[in-house]
């Protein structure tokens, strides 16, 4: 199909919008608001601030690694930098950003007026800013932030310089427990919303894959997150109240911490990645005008990934004195994940196969992210093989692998989502040229930065060190310079988003001619999302049949 969007992307909706926008002032984003759309935007904007902070910390780390000697920051501060970088990016950027995006989209996509528990929803959000500020405040306590990496393995995390009660590690644990409480309340809310609030006719197999992804990810939050909370409570007791759960010199066992920690933190990868896969499944069909290939298989594969991921945690512990039978079992289950993920990757490819692609910015980011996921996934299978993992354990190969997943796949997907739903959220269009500039400024440096880490790791450069053997300097310079460019690429993005939000041309309700329910309401949606709750009679990706819209209002039936 050759359809040119450009004519219909913008339109004069001045009159209708003024009606929707009454009460839509900027002050509401700083108040305790129970509208899921306001909460979604609050989440997304706040987490983007933390993304900038986490990115700045990464720039500092890369600047330190320009030279083999440790000469820019002292070692305790360097330890704090990579600890905070990892913690912020995982717990204050990707996971809560996905929560915010899901908050905005899930009720719209399933035809609900709001989340199941709006008050609880607002509380879950408002726990986060204090928790994040608390985490950042640890830069200013005596002896600095937590320094044991985002894993916080005992006994390293129990060795507190100075030994005061209030220290970086203590603050780190408390803020992570708070963030965890917020996530569990959010997960309860999402589960109830998806199970109870769907519009008439919105059966499980008419839900968009994004909603399936949110359901699977939030199920993982419910089942696995409490294990991390439990581990952190035990760590806090060891740290401050003289217990010995994880202290080797008091009969305690630090390996138990690793089990509890990875029981959450491996599935956390899928809590971050599944919504990204959901974004690909929304954007790729819309811009190739094809129905999503194998919709049911993709939906079930989403649940399958979530299910298998519960049983793979010990592959992070191949070098932690893990017995042989455990290594074999977890190697097998880890490799099993490749099957449902492969189903997804093939479905994306088959969706865009032989179609006329519309290469607008969201599509560029989605295709780029999906392609980079193939690379990150392949190195993931390599790492799941125990012998290889033992060889590269704790080297930059692992760092390269997971940055291919968390940056090149998930953060790319997040950018795709921001551009794709920008017209819906703000009622305005972003600037296409700036968007494309942002994409190329992100895509190329990101690949250079994170690819360089693979040869570095294979040659044996360890992670979490501030000084290294001079033989590694070449790749490190390449990685650092590219990463500065990557950091700079955020500037056109911010300029585009802020400028377009304020002054962009008005967007029509459905600029991409997408089939999801969220596109059937006005842009931005009114307070209760839909003037009338829609009745769903069509499958979610009905692009093959352009004359149908996905819904027919009850009026149209009569």
């Amino acid at each position: 199909m050759t359809h040119d969007f450009s004519q219909e992307i913008t339109g004069d909706r001045e009159s209708e919008n003024s009606q929707n926008q009454e009460g839509n002032n900027w002050q509401q984003y700083f108040t305790f608001n129970t509208d899921h759309k306001v909460i979604g935007i609050q989440y997304m904007v706040m987490t983007f601030m933390f993304f900038l902070i986490g990115g700045l910390l990464a720039m500092l780390i890369r600047a330190e690694l320009l030279t083999p000697e440790s000469n820019l920051v002292d070692r305790p501060l360097y330890n704090g930098l990579f600890t905070m970088h990892g913690t912020i990016m995982i717990f204050l950027w990707i996971i809560p950003f996905n929560a915010g995006l899901s908050n905005y989209l899930v009720p719209l996509m399933i035809g609900a007026r709001d989340m199941a528990f709006p008050l609880l929803n607002a509380i879950s959000f408002w726990i986060l800013p204090p928790a994040g500020l608390l985490l950042l405040s640890s830069f200013f306590v005596p002896n600095g932030t937590a320094q044991s990496g985002w894993w916080s393995y005992p006994p390293i995390s129990l060795q507190i310089p100075g030994g005061g009660l209030i220290n970086g590690e203590f603050i780190w644990i408390v803020s992570l427990v708070l963030i965890g409480i917020s996530s569990i309340m959010g997960a309860v809310n999402f589960m109830t919303t998806i199970f109870w609030m769907r519009a008439p006719g919105m059966t499980f197999f008419r839900m968009p894959v994004f909603v399936w992804s949110v359901l699977s990810a939030q199920l993982l939050q419910l089942i696995n997150l409490p294990a991390l909370t439990g581990a952190l409570i035990l760590l806090l007791f060891d740290l401050s109240f003289g217990t010995q759960f994880f202290k080797p010199d008091g009969n305690g066992d630090p390996i138990i911490y690793q089990h509890l920690f990875w029981f959450y933190s491996h599935p956390a990868v899928y809590i971050m990645a599944l919504p990204a896969f959901g974004i690909f499944a929304e954007v790729l069909p819309a811009f190739s005008r094809n129905p999503l290939f194998g919709y049911r298989s993709v939906a079930l594969a989403t649940l399958g990934i979530a299910f298998i991921s519960i049983f793979v945690w010990a592959h992070h512990m191949f070098t932690s004195a893990t017995p042989g039978w455990m290594r074999m079992t977890f190697m097998a289950t880890s490799m099993l994940v490749a099957i449902p993920t492969g189903i997804k990757a093939f479905a994306w490819t088959a969706t865009i196969w032989r179609s006329k692609l519309h290469l607008e910015t969201p599509m560029l980011f989605a295709m780029g992210g999906a392609a980079m996921f193939i690379f990150g996934g392949v190195t993931g299978v390599m790492l799941a093989a125990t012998p290889f993992d033992i060889h590269v354990n704790n080297t930059y190969f692992v760092v390269g692998h997971f940055h291919y997943i968390v940056f090149n796949t998930i953060t790319m997907a997040i950018f795709a989502a921001i551009y794709y739903w920008f017209p819906k959220i703000t009622g305005r269009m972003y600037a296409e040229g700036w968007g494309k500039l942002h994409f190329w400024l992100t895509f190329i440096p990101a690949n250079i930065t994170f690819f360089s880490m693979h040869p570095l790791g294979l040659q044996g450069m360890l992670r979490r060190v501030s000084s290294y053997d001079p033989q590694y300097q070449g790749w490190n310079i390449i990685a650092s310079l590219a990463s500065f460019l990557l950091g700079a690429s955020t500037l056109p993005f911010i300029a585009n988003i802020v400028g377009s939000w304020l002054y962009g041309p008005r967007a029509v309700d459905n600029p991409w001619h997408a089939t999801g329910l969220e596109w059937t309401t006005s842009s931005p949606p009114p307070r209760d999302n839909f003037e009338e709750i829609p009745i769903v009679k069509r499958p979610p990706y009905d692009y093959g049949n352009p004359k149908y819209s996905i819904i027919e209002n009850s009026n149209n039936n009569e």
């Binding site: 399933i110 035809g111 609900a112 007026r113 199941a116 528990f117 569990i184 997960a187 309860v188 809310n189 589960m191 109830t192 199970f195 109870w196 609030m197 769907r198 519009a199 008439p200 006719g201 919105m202 059966t203 499980f204 197999f205 008419r206 419910l222 089942i223 696995n224 997150l225 409490p226 294990a227 909370t229 439990g230 581990a231 035990l234 007791f237 109240f241 003289g242 217990t243 010995q244 759960f245 008091g250 009969n251 305690g252 066992d253 138990i256 089990h259 509890l260 029981f263 049911r296 079930l300 709750i533 769903v536």
Partner: protein
């Protein structure tokens, strides 16, 4: 040798049927969309049950830690320490807590039948039983010859009983709130979800105690 081709349909697992039927089965078991927007009680109880699922994972992680440490530690009891005793206090405490489940359930049923007076009395008895358990726990803690810093036995014992006691306390506070709300005129419907959730929470706390009791007191060193 006779050769026979096995068609995929003849394989005992029948993958083709699974592939076709699994989605339909799922569809049948899971609710279809529509019409639940106003069912506050149903939504609330679903959400609360899901929340209790994640609560049980925290308890499981603590129990896992306890069992793993206990199985791998040679000298579980430091010299001179006899460990948690199955004393009279503990037995009475357990009986009181477990039987309170059989008091709170009739209370909730009474509220559903709008027998407000019966509800208040039974509810008050439950509060008394929960409070008795908490006092008994404190007395037991005082009588023990080890502290939270006394080896792994102290660390795990006080963690498990303390975390459970915190849940009993939360349950009693919820019960008191619900009792007060039952005196506010015109508030019966609003109290319904609260009382159902409190009742479910109380059963949950009881079931957890059965496991903790067996692990802490019946598993002798």
């Amino acid at each position: 040798m006779q050769r026979r081709t096995i068609h995929i349909d003849e394989s005992p697992i029948r993958f083709d049927l699974w592939r076709r039927r699994l989605p339909n089965w799922l569809q049948r078991f899971l609710p279809s969309g529509g019409g639940s927007h106003e069912d506050h009680h149903g939504k609330g109880m679903f959400g609360f049950t899901v929340f209790l699922l994640s609560e049980s994972i925290i308890f499981l992680s603590f129990i896992f830690t306890y069992v793993a440490l206990r199985l791998t530690t040679k000298n579980w009891l430091p010299p001179g320490i006899s460990g948690p005793e199955l004393s009279t206090i503990v037995v009475i405490n357990t009986v009181v807590l477990l039987s309170s489940s059989f008091v709170i359930q009739p209370a909730e049923n009474a509220l559903k039948r709008n027998q407000l007076k019966k509800f208040r009395w039974l509810w008050l008895i439950t509060i008394a039983m929960g409070s008795y358990f908490l006092v008994g726990l404190l007395i037991e803690w005082k009588s023990l010859d080890f502290k939270i810093t006394t080896g792994l036995v102290g660390s795990t014992f006080y963690l498990l009983t303390g975390f459970h006691g915190l849940h009993v306390l939360a349950g009693v506070v919820l019960q008191i709130i619900m009792l007060i709300r039952s005196f506010i005129p015109g508030n019966y419907n609003k109290t319904h979800f609260g009382t159902s959730a409190t009742t479910l929470f109380w059963h949950f706390v009881d079931v957890v105690w059965v496991f903790l009791f067996s692990l802490l007191y019946l598993w002798r060193a």
